[in-house]
């Protein structure tokens, strides 16, 4: 097998925040009844996490689970373990009506970090990113300027941003513009 390469192959930029394409991330879209015990167990076995509630994200490093919609989760696993984890999940879910599908390569993932990271995101997403309103443990499916994106916080000044792979370059350029030197807003 040839070496898989992420959309921008770890490109990075330093401005008022640091923007890095963070490489390949294993991702499984799970659709099903989120209150189903079988599904909850499959999620727990794959990630060690419970099923998140609305707008919650339970992520440690490259493993975790994010709420996407009332019947959809995004399960994160290390890229190298994807096939094994997906097979285990598919197996565990075989008795219930659910869908688990690999979307790892359909996405690009960015890390946006630094004191102004909140402001950089708030220039592009119509989301209240004040510390009172948005904290680690939460996720928003929203947009960055003209494309769909989702993001959560790894810690108090680090965001992880997920977009479609085809939009990776657009999102990287957007984040660069939003993080340009001298553009601190000074509110967060």
């Amino acid at each position: 097998m040839s070496e898989p390469i992420s959309a921008l192959n770890h490109a990075s930029y330093d401005g008022i925040a640091k923007v890095e394409e963070s490489g390949l991330q294993g991702m499984i879209t799970v659709r099903g009844n989120l209150s189903d015990k079988v599904l909850a167990k499959a999620v727990k076995d794959a990630t060690g996490q419970k099923v998140p509630g609305q707008r919650e994200a339970f992520v440690e490093g490259d493993t975790g689970v994010c709420w996407m919609s009332p019947d959809e989760l995004l399960v994160l696993v290390p890229y190298a373990e994807l096939n094994a984890k997906l097979a285990a999940m598919t197996d565990a879910l075989s008795g219930v009506h659910a869908l688990a599908v690999n979307v790892s390569d359909a996405r690009a993932v960015f890390r946006v970090s630094g004191n102004s990271a909140r402001e950089v995101l708030a220039k592009l997403a119509p989301v209240d990113l004040s510390p009172e309103a948005f904290q680690p443990g939460q996720i928003r499916r929203s947009r960055l300027a003209q494309v769909a994106a989702a993001f959560w916080m790894d810690d108090t000044d680090t965001f992880r941003v997920v977009c479609f792979r085809s939009a990776a370059e657009y999102v990287f350029e957007l984040l660069k513009v939003a993080a340009q030197p001298g553009s601190e807003v000074g509110v967060y």
Partner: protein, 1004 residues
Amino acid sequence: MSSRLAKQGRLIDRSKPVTFSFNGNSMQGYEGDTLASALLANDQMMVGRSFKYHRPRGVVASGAEEPNALVGLGQGNRFEPNQRATTTELFNGLTAISQNHWPSLEFDIGSVNTALARFLPAGFYYKMFIHPKPFWKHIYEPFIRQSAGLGKAPDKDSRDADTYEHFYSFADVLVIGGGIAGLQSAKAAALSGAKVMLIEQTAHWGGRTLVDGGTVGGKPVDKFVEQLVSELETMDNVTMRTRCMGAGVYDHGYVLGYERLSDHRPGTQGPRHRLWRIRAKQVVTATGAIERPLSFAGNDVPGVMLASAMRDYVVNWGVTPGQRVVIATNNDDAYRTAIALKQVGVNVIRVVDTRATAGPMAEEVRQLGVRVDPGKAIAKVKGGKRVKNVQLCNQDGIGGAREEIECDAVAMSGGWSPVVHLWSHCGGKLIWDDANAYFRPDPKRPPLGANGDGFVVAAGSSNGHLSLGEVIADAHAAGKAAAKAAGFKPKNTRAPSGEAAEEAPMEAIWLMPANAEVQLRMKSWLDFQNDVKVSDVQLAAREGYESVEHTKRYTTLGMATDQGKLSNINGLAILADSLDSDIPKVGTTTFRPPYTPISLGAIGGEARGEVFQPIRRTPMHDWHDANGADWEPVGQWRRPYAYVRPGESVHDAVNREVKNTRDNLGILDASTLGKLIVKGPDAGKFLDMLYTNMMSTLKVGKCRYGLMCSENGFLIDDGVVARIDEDTWLCHTTTGGAERIHAHMEEWLQTEWWDWKVYVANVTEQYAQVAVVGPNARKVLEKLGGMDVSKDALPFMEWRDGKIGDFDCRAYRISFSGELSYEIAVPASQGQAFWDALFAAGQKFGVMPYGTECLHILRAEKGFIMIGDETDGTVIPQDLGLHWALSKKKEDYLGKRAHSRSHMTDPDRWKLVGLETVDGSVIPDGAYAVGEGVNANGQRNMIGRVTSTYFSANLGKGIAMGLVKNGPDRMGEIIEFPGTDDKIYKVKIVDPVFFDKDGEKQNV
């Protein structure tokens, strides 16, 4: 003459001189000046010319309401026309040019228009330019183009040097306006714990109270403001921004704030403007009030200025607009200007007060030695480029028995109008206040939010309170009310008490003198920028314009870039008088955002250059780009149209690719095709409803081509469906259809068939998909090794999972070209590596990448339809001869019922045929076929149109498809397609399959 005073100027720093230029002349100002104050300091009284008559124009105001002092600011990539000098902060190296004159500001040919004023009355556009018809093109339009218009457009080769951005912000209470009312409101709201944002359009807090003075809680007002600002700055729940204008108030508490970050220091790092996109639970508009001009003859001569503006220039910037000043007023506030001028030693020659008896402030001014004439008015101001003298008369009368006095500046005050714009943007209503002669917000009818309650509270003078004591009390109450409405408990605090000089009631004066004769009314300006005079509005009324909105458009009153901030109330008062009606009955025109013009850059935000629009890229995008791709936009994707080699035209490249794919081997990046996973116990049933043909019966491992119709029966998409396992299907969509069809599926599942057990996921971008096409397709795959792709192991319209070379893949044996063809899907992150491997292995088999045009030609040679070419939203499968794909076994599917409607079964519907010119040429794209006779409009009757047309290098001639009336019954007939090149194309109707009719090439 206007000049800098020796003292005064609380906003300027005399230790920091600034050099700037106006019309190429170098001038000096100080840090803290506005361009307007600096121009006045340099005795530049005249700053531009008016729109219609090219009359000399001087600075008339000191803020956002300024109609006259518009300049072209900056140079080259930073040049911007129509910038208000009164809101432009001075900086070193600023360059400004005046506008609307030719050849120069001092000498202007267009000013001859003023002599023609009698022939350019209200509505002259509508009256003059109707007859005779040819005059428009040859006489009127060239004349108007030469003489009309304000600033110059930037040079077409220049590009904005700056960047811009948006910022999304959320607040419980947003206070717009950082004057004393806004500051007090913000504090009252913030004490409740609410999250408060306070924005101010100028660079300074405190507003005009700091000019007008007074005391609050026994303290001088400037100390009070200083303390208030520092208190707010220490509160964690308060965000404060200067140079940030509240531009518009919209539904659901959405407000736009326009922050000018570097207009006062161009070229500094970071964005120039930031557009704040604010969601506020409650909005407090503390936007102040604007003084009204008085309507007297010659009120537009440079040197005539609002009384409040005149004292702003004195107090804020240490500039006096004149040395000998006459003041005209109908209220006490203007006396503050007399006092301010006297205090700096300017000679105030006379105050004419329309009121029969002047109030207590008049007495104070008399004490300073200024003559005050009650019951008097200005009949006329004389002077061209600056004021020379004024003629005074009685206010009651027609303007006779004038006394002439020499002066070089006139201050006028017609009373104040609350700035109700932001209150009104989203539907707040106004009431007329007779005592003060203004419209103010009606607190009973605020703009309503989603729950039916008001979400805007007006505060201070924008709420109609003009005295300091009332302003503070009202603002305090407004802040508390807004906090309460936002769900907070306001602190039980009382407003500090404000005190200012006592004022006598004003008198509503709309014309000066009251019965001014027509010669005076023709020179009494209402709208300075657009040249609308009292006589114009009166004429409009006589001609039957009763609605204020119609009068506005007929006369152009209030239609200039200042949107009538000075002129609207005066104009509609004249209209009401002319109609013998009341002002509130006539009503106002609509207040629309933005409050003052905001830059297009700010509206666009980050969307320019690289990120103007998203461009979607496949994993092989860079390879295509490096290998000559001539790009074609397909939705937001970019796909190679053809790969152009050095020395080739695009057409040459297409022809080469078309031949090579049929003769040897072509590879196509098909990654953009939509891929939707549909899974669940009811997935088969669901797909049977979505596709016109049967999908539930498809065997695992097999593929089937399917059509999708809307519920109205029209074709919306097509593609190959593969059955993955018992419960799972993979549906290919068109490139442009992936998101749309995904949404279509979700909509039906969520709204109609919510109880069906089906889940859908869009996995389009998970895969890089490559079409391997041509007689050598199998050979190249076999050379790479891995799974068995032989005719028997992987028959036509089947798929297999396996390995090709090193790559895990899914191989589909499908063909859109009529050739032996595979589509190989690999994980996107290995797409480029797979493409490279194919390309290397394909060298000995004559591999060439091909683009979308080749794809189109190959499918057209085979008569395959393309969604978006053969379909346009009005085409049904029956039109395209696709009856075979319409299931007769199924009880129902989307579109089935629609297909039985009378119009859908009409035998005269145009139907798909092949088209071939008699001479082998290519029919122009979009051409229509003409039949016998003409229609009701005298146009030739149409009998068909071309849907796809190409040159086929394989066949050596033009081929096309089209929809023709009774087409399939007319095989062999010749019909005519007139081209736009004056040629009439004679075209034979033929079978749409031009190449390999029996499908032998793909069946190997």
